[in-house]
């Protein structure tokens, strides 16, 4: 290290808080516009790519954005539901393969996605270990969900009550984890996948309880009228589906009328896509959307906001930079006597300029390095953070 560099280092070490403040200010004015742009672009690419990979989406009339965000990114805002029969109706058109989704419940913070096996092949999801759910009450976890919940194959997860104060509401269901999915870097990583019927069990549309015809269930019998047995509140309801009690599980009502939050429609080809959109275009009970279009509109708004934020950050950055420049200039003026002393004891003007310049260069290069590091972190973990921030 040259003498001037050493002296510059000593100066910065002595004025470390001042130097740290300058580095922080410069880092932020460099990082905020660049990092924000990286973050927005990356998040938008990720959001767009998932939207582009989902050709059509059917759901109840309402906000297309809410429908897309819930169905593709499992956001916690649940759209209005449509009946499962609509899935069959799509299949009957012969234009597309329907994949029903029921995304309403959660295991702690992880969304429970009730769907059919077609979803896994459609999203190209592969098992890292274990197997897909085969019977009622089984679950498969996304890689991040498994890590977050700390559960592996053979373990169990319990659906969260929607409201702890609603004793008449949804009862928790204990589900066995039969598999963990490979990391996909999509919202699927955070999901708990179950068969759609299991989702309906969580909803309370299906349940299992003691066989009231058996003697041990006698305390739960309120009255018998011929073949009709009426149970009372003492009937034991199962909150876990096992091989011993699975036969007691049954659904009340017509499954065709059971709810789904959306139906992904995978058209056979472009023509089928156009025909299907035309068929539902004027439907009063259903809306059909192209997620790519919905996300493009949403991201258009985001980009507009981003431009304003970046422009604002740029103005603030210029002001901050001017202030930092002023600090440097005042510091140089304040050190005029020091420069004179160094000159009188033999320091050349070049060496003195190098000393002062090294200090400024060090502060600037530290700020650039930190801004680069933050930008890299934003590009590496930003989309994950963005999903957490916007709740999708």
């Amino acid at each position: 290290m040259s003498g001037a560099s050493y002296l510059a280092g000593r100066y910065l070490a002595f004025h470390r808080w001042k130097a740290a403040l300058l580095v922080t200010a410069l880092t932020l004015i460099l990082f905020i516009p660049i990092g924000l742009r990286v973050l927005v672009r990356q998040s938008s690419e990720q959001l767009s790519s998932r939207a582009q990979a989902t050709p059509l989406l059917l759901g109840a009339p309402g906000s297309p954005t809410e429908l897309v965000l819930n169905s593709l990114y499992f956001s916690s805002d649940v759209p209005a539901v449509v009946s499962f029969a609509e899935s069959g109706a799509v299949a009957e058109t012969g234009l597309a393969t329907p994949i029903p989704l029921y995304v309403r419940f959660r295991v702690r913070d992880q969304p429970i996605v009730g769907t059919t096996p077609e979803y896994f092949s459609f999203r190209d999801l592969r098992m890292a270990e274990g197997r897909p759910p085969a019977i009622l009450g089984e679950a498969v976890l996304g890689a991040a969900a498994a890590r977050s919940l700390g559960v592996g194959v053979g373990g169990h997860v319990v659906s969260s009550p929607e409201s702890v104060f609603d004793i008449a509401g949804v009862y928790p269901l204990r589900m066995e984890v039969t598999g963990i999915l490979e990391f996909a870097d999509t919202p699927d990583d955070d999901a708990v996948f179950v068969d759609i019927k299991t989702a309906w069990v969580i909803e309370g549309l299906g349940h299992g309880h003691q066989d009231l015809s058996r003697p041990e269930a006698a305390p739960g019998v309120l009255k018998r009228e011929g073949n009709v047995v009426i149970g009372n509140a003492a009937v034991v309801q199962y909150n876990e589906i096992t091989s011993d009690n699975i036969d007691t599980f049954h659904f009340h009502g017509d499954p065709a009328a059971f709810p789904v939050t959306a139906i992904i429609a995978v058209p056979n080809d472009d023509k089928a896509s156009a025909l299907l959109q035309g068929r539902y275009q004027d439907s009063a009970t259903l809306q059909i959307v192209r997620p790519e279009t919905v996300m493009a509109e949403l991201l258009g708004t985001v980009f507009t906001v981003e431009r304003f934020v970046v422009a604002g950050a740029g103005i603030v950055g210029l002001a901050t930079f001017a202030t930092v420049l002023l600090v440097f200039l005042l510091s140089l003026r304040q050190r005029e006597r020091e420069r004179e002393t160094l000159g009188r004891i033999g320091g050349s003007p070049g060496a003195i300029r190098f000393l002062m310049g090294s200090e400024i260069a060090f502060v600037l290069s530290m700020a650039v390095a930190l801004a680069a590091l933050l930008t890299w972190l934003a590009s590496r973990y930003g989309s994950e953070a963005a999903r957490v921030i916007v709740g999708i």
Partner: protein, 230 residues
Amino acid sequence: MIRIEELLFTYPDSDFRLSVAELSVHTGTTNAFVGASGSGKTTLLNLIAGILLPTSGRVETDGTVITGLSDRERRAFRVSRVGLVFQEFELLEYLNVLDNILLPYRINPALPLEPAVARRAASLAERVGIGDKLKRFPKHLSQGERQRVAVCRAVLTDPPLLLTDEPTGNLDPVNREKVLDILFDYVHESGTTLVSVTHDREILGRFENVVDFRVFHQSELAADDAGADR
């Protein structure tokens, strides 16, 4: 030997005028420039050091005509031949005592900072009574200690000419005596030529030669050969 002939110095946009017809300072002697503020003592010191260049005239030190040197050469001359001590000490607040003493070696690429130099710096500090304060910063030193650091810095390169500008001006009587003892001990042991600007007439008795600026008009300053050669 320092020889000054027909020297004239003026500052631009100022009425100040320093004129020295002739002045000689012999090698190995101790010399005081004494006079009122503004009489040109410090200016003459800076001209001898090569920090300033005269408007006209000639300054020669040990055969080197300083007035004929380029900026770079005068700087090299100063680094190798001159030690400087200032009234305000001029220590760098962000350097500890050792680094302040070593400053000439840090700022001059021509002076290689070898381990022996650092040992000499520590030894000088020990000798002037601040050996246990090498890691301290100037703000934690007394005025007397700061000036001792400045003296160590000035003599570290072992210069044959030591120029001091009011070296005791900011010191109390006890510290003044200590610093003077240190300066004169060093000068007598090393045979260094000492030229010191002072307005403190109490210390003039310590110097072999005294050039009193009061007895001359600034425009007609002449050296008192008898006094200077005493």
